[in-house]
């Protein structure tokens, strides 16, 4: 028994080191002067902000941060609102075509994005939405997973509640907002966190539809800066730029850890 426990601790500690040390290395390296790069132990006697200053001068990173915040928030709001609406309709409202729509929801979850990537780009170009926030938000405005999450949650709310409310003459909108949403806060949080995280971290789509530097999202700008040669291959600067991307989500994660973990775990189980 004891041996097992010790083995367990060894596994867990080494694993924790493997998962965390590279990130620590990155953070520390971003504060080190350039000539000290390339050592295993990341500590240094000369921590400096020089890399961050260089990054702030080289690229509009605060603007990109704002872009990412705006796009992720708008997308999350949109997804929560419309997924709740649709999920409610599918769960508790009777109407023609309800089953067909639900089948469509399930089918779209299996749809690989590679199929629609190029046509979506063409659509954005046709609408004249390139280099706009709309191009980043609209194609992600509703998610099938969101609809599914809300539908399943609403299904678990007893019918009697609705009957009672309807008897009292409440409109469907009132039922949704006053009764269902408050009860299904976990679903809202789950959908919200998943959407926000995906929107914040997405790089492929912004690379395709955004070309102007001022409109780039944060991870996109950091990639352009690092992979595009502006950082001159200097890891210190690349990491400093990367830290801008990492810090917000890390802070959010540390504060709302439980919700992050619960959300992602449940998304996998439902998927």
């Amino acid at each position: 028994m004891i041996a097992r426990r010790i083995a367990g601790y060894i596994v867990l500690t080494s694993a924790a080191l493997i998962f965390l040390y590279p990130l620590l290395w990155m953070a520390l390296l971003s504060f080190k002067p350039q000539d000290e790069a390339g050592t295993f132990v990341a500590w240094s006697g000369h921590f400096t902000f020089a890399n961050y200053v260089a990054v702030l001068h080289a690229i509009p990173i605060t603007r990109a941060l704002a872009n990412s915040l705006f796009v992720a928030s708008a997308t999350t709001l949109s997804v929560v609102v419309f997924s709740a609406l649709t999920g409610y309709a599918l769960a508790r409202l009777q109407f023609a075509g309800r089953n067909v729509i639900f089948a469509i929801v399930l089918a779209t979850m299996a749809l690989p994005f590679q199929l629609t990537l190029i046509p979506l780009y063409e659509l954005i170009v046709k609408f004249g939405w390139t280099d706009t926030y709309l191009a980043l938000i609209a194609p992600n405005a509703i998610s099938a997973l969101g609809v599914l999450i809300f539908r399943q949650t609403f299904l678990s709310i007893p019918k009697e509640l609705i009957e009672a409310a309807r008897m009292e003459g409440a409109s469907e909108v009132q039922i949704l907002t006053r009764i269902f949403l408050p009860i299904s806060l976990p679903a809202v949080v789950t959908a919200g966190i998943l959407t926000f995280m995906n929107s914040w971290n997405d790089v492929l789509w912004p690379i395709i539809v955004i070309r102007k530097q001022e409109m780039m999202t944060l991870p996109q700008l950091v990639v352009a800066f690092s992979a595009g040669g502006q950082a001159d291959g200097l890891p210190g600067q690349q990491f400093a730029a990367a830290m801008f991307v990492v810090a917000p989500i890390l802070v959010a994660y540390l504060l709302f850890q439980r919700y992050f973990i619960a959300s992602m775990a449940s998304s996998g189980i439902k998927g």
Binding site: T130, R211, K212, Q213, D232, G233
Partner: protein, 432 residues
């Protein structure tokens, strides 16, 4: 007395006065509509400065037409940006940073104006440009949509101090080059790893790098042929083989390092030679950590030749069909390519105007006398060849890059095999 009649009279007087005032102010404005032209320049500081100087003097002389200079938005390559602008219909009136190889798409889409439609086109171009350069600028449909403007001939830069220290002369043939390369590859600490090399050709597989390593060698070895012939096959397979073998030998023998493209080893003095254009003059003067003297010679060739060719790396000027003032745009294009303008271009950017017989032109003699390094590029400017203008050029160079990686860099297949693969690919590429 405040009768209605008085008030009406007063008001009418005010009305008449106001209308007169308005007429005086507005009528001239309507009679002479103000024209604004947008002009896209390459985003680097020198060219922007040149463009702004030109625009300023033009604007002063032509109050009714304002030219507004904008740098090409920097994201990705200029080619990508221009194509995106055409798709989104946000093209400027004039763009002066067009790589000739992408013109075919613009022509095919009707995005650019045929310049030979202007009445004075023949006269103006004949005065400035020689027949061969103009022939390259002619599109597939026989019309001319671009003005050949300036070249950045790629030459071989060498570290004069390093060469003196190693006791070698700048090479002209492949054999001489390999000899020199051998002397330039060494370890600075005895028993240490090799940290000085002969040259640092690009090790990136991205297509445009081949314009600065393989293509100049090919142009030199083929006496100035373009990559493709009329049938879209390799114009000179033997020159292609020679160029690829040259690169392969350099890598095999360790004269070229397999390091990543950055940092600039030539700048750091760790590599004795590099391929570079005239922009290199100010780049090397400005940026070198340890200053060294540098010189330029033509690209080496398999055997000695009377004149050596190279890649022109030229940029042309085009007028987009979205313009609402084609005549004014053409007027400005002419303005930017006069002798005086070409002199200003030389002075401010060191780039070589594609003007016929530049080296012997008395208007420039004084400048060349004082700037021998630029003069070397100007002489080279008479023997340059651009890259082919075909819709598949990016794809072809991409394929060539992968053959370059396999045959020259890693030596997995012989260089002849790499060129043979490319020739074969060219036959398959027009698959549809």
């Amino acid at each position: 007395m405040c009768t209605l009649r008085t008030i009406v009279k007063q008001r009418s007087r005010v009305a008449v006065l106001t209308s007169l005032l308005l007429a005086v102010v507005l009528v001239p404005a309507f009679a002479q509509p103000h024209i604004t032209l947008t002009y896209w320049s390459a985003p680097n500081a020198e060219e922007l400065s040149f463009a702004r100087t030109m625009a300023q003097s033009w604007n002063a002389a032509h109050p009714e037409t304002t030219v507004e200079v904008q740098p090409i938005p920097a994201s990705g390559t200029s080619e990508e940006v221009l194509l995106a602008a055409v798709v989104a219909k946000t093209t400027p009136d004039i763009c002066a940073n067009i790589l000739p190889s992408i013109m075919n798409r613009f022509v095919h889409a009707g995005a650019v104006l045929p310049l030979d439609g202007f009445a004075d086109f023949d006269r103006v171009t004949h005065e400035r440009i020689d027949a061969k350069t103009l022939a390259y600028a002619r599109s597939d449909d026989g019309r001319v949509y671009q003005v050949p403007w300036k070249a950045n001939p790629v030459m071989l830069a060498y570290n004069v101090d390093e060469f003196a220290a190693r006791g070698v002369q700048p090479p002209r043939t492949y054999a001489q080059f390999m000899d020199v390369a051998h002397r330039l590859t060494y370890a600075s600490t005895s028993g240490g790893r090799i940290d000085h090399w002969a040259m640092n050709p690009g090790t990136s597989v991205i297509w445009f790098w081949r314009m600065f390593d393989f293509y100049p060698l090919y142009a030199a070895a083929s006496d100035g042929r373009t990559l493709l012939d009329r049938n879209h096959a390799l114009a000179d397979p033997r020159a292609a083989n020679d160029a690829m073998q040259f690169l392969a030998m350099g890598f095999r023998r360790g004269y070229f390092p397999l390091a990543a493209p950055q940092p600039d080893l030539f700048l750091e003095g760790r590599v004795g030679m590099r391929f570079i254009g005239p922009w290199g003059i100010s780049y090397l003067e400005r940026a070198a950590v340890h200053r060294f003297r540098f010189g330029f010679v033509p690209i080496p060739t398999p055997a000695a030749k009377p004149s050596e060719f190279t890649f022109s790396d030229q940029k042309n000027i085009a007028i987009f069909s979205t313009t609402r003032h084609p005549n004014e745009a053409w007027a400005f294009v002419k303005y930017v390519t006069t002798r005086a303008a070409d002199r200003t271009l030389l002075k401010m950017t060191s780039q070589i105007p594609l003007r016929r017989d530049l080296v012997n032109d008395p208007a420039f003699a004084d400048y060349f006398a004082h700037h021998p390094l630029v003069a070397a590029f100007a002489r080279q400017g008479a023997h340059v060849v651009p890259l082919d203008d075909t819709p598949h050029i990016v794809q072809i160079l991409d394929y060539l890059s992968r053959q370059y990686e396999a045959s020259a860099m890693y030596g997995i297949i012989p260089p002849e095999r790499g060129i043979a693969n490319t020739a074969d690919y060219l036959t398959r590429i027009d698959r549809l």
